[in-house]
């Protein structure tokens, strides 16, 4: 790790001249280290300590010092190493699936979960109790009619 930091620092020092020409860097090494893969260890640069990763880090530091943007640097790396050098797949063509499938999966899961919860909650609702109409027997009904007739 110390060696790696020294190598990057040495690269940055070596580029002190060009760096002076760029007063406002457009991206940072820390950001790109998370966006670019180490081609031989298949982890992002910030997770790798290999010689290949250190070489790419030195290149990125050099290009940042020359005021290159993250997009420019990524494009240059893709031209050299191919699209697999980027940690995230491109957002076009077949690679779009890699972006949309997880979202579709989460949405489908949420919908299924909601459906399950809804069904479960309905099953647990108490069944409405049908109250039997209090019917009057014939005798009571007759007496009630007689009583009401007195007030007519």
């Amino acid at each position: 790790m110390i060696l790696r930091l020294l190598a990057v620092a040495a690269a940055a020092l070596a580029l002190a001249g060009p760096a002076a020409a760029c007063a406002h860097p457009r991206t940072s090494l820390a950001y790109l280290e998370g966006q670019v893969m180490c081609p031989i260890c298949h982890t992002t640069l910030d997770q790798s300590d290999s010689a290949a990763a250190r070489q790419i880090e030195a290149y990125i530091a050099q290009r940042i010092a020359q005021c290159a943007s993250a997009r420019q640097i990524e494009a240059e790396l893709v031209a050299n190493y191919g699209p697999a050098i980027l940690a995230a797949p491109p957002r076009k063509g077949f690679d779009l699936l890699a972006w949309w499938l997880p979202i579709a999966g989460v949405l489908a899961g949420a919908a299924l979960l909601a459906l399950g919860v809804w069904r479960w909650s309905r099953r647990r609702e108490p069944e409405p109790v049908e109250l039997a109409e209090p019917g009057l027997d014939e005798e009571t009904e007759r007496r009630l009619d007689e009583l009401l007739a007195r007030y007519d």
């Binding site: 050299n80 190493y81 191919g82 299924l112």
Partner: protein, 179 residues
Amino acid sequence: MTRQLKLSVQLLALACVAGLLALLVWQLSHQQHAPRVGSLAPAFTLRRLGGRGEVSLASYRGHPVVLNFWASWCVPCKSEAAVLERDWTRYRRRGVVFLGIDYHDLAEDARRFVSAHALTFPMLEDGSGRVTGSYGISQVPETYVLDRRGRIVAHLAGPITAGPFAAEFDRALAEAAAA
């Protein structure tokens, strides 16, 4: 939920699981392994380092070929560079072709490496590692020696300067050149 809908959801879940299994099987069956000694070397066409045209392995059929996979960031590659150059100058008169294949490397650094070590045999670039993958390269340097028919005579998974590899490389080179 109706019975039909329930069945459809179950079928969909089964189809998803079957799809994932198929993907796993495909991945396992398409894993790249190093070609065996005695088998035909995988064909390729690669750009010359520096972009001056392309080179195809097939164009060297009839010549023994040494394929050396390297990268400028690889420390052992530096130690074997001088040996490769020496053997190249020694064997080229006997029709042996040396091809250096630079992989997962920055072209500018690779050119500096070639210049610093005064390497004169053809250098090709495999930035994406596609060809390197077809040779099952897992580390650099690695070297293949092919005979005149394109069959693999030797595969050295390490620097040719290292003890056992040095003798094997000399033997394979002599065998390929004599055949």
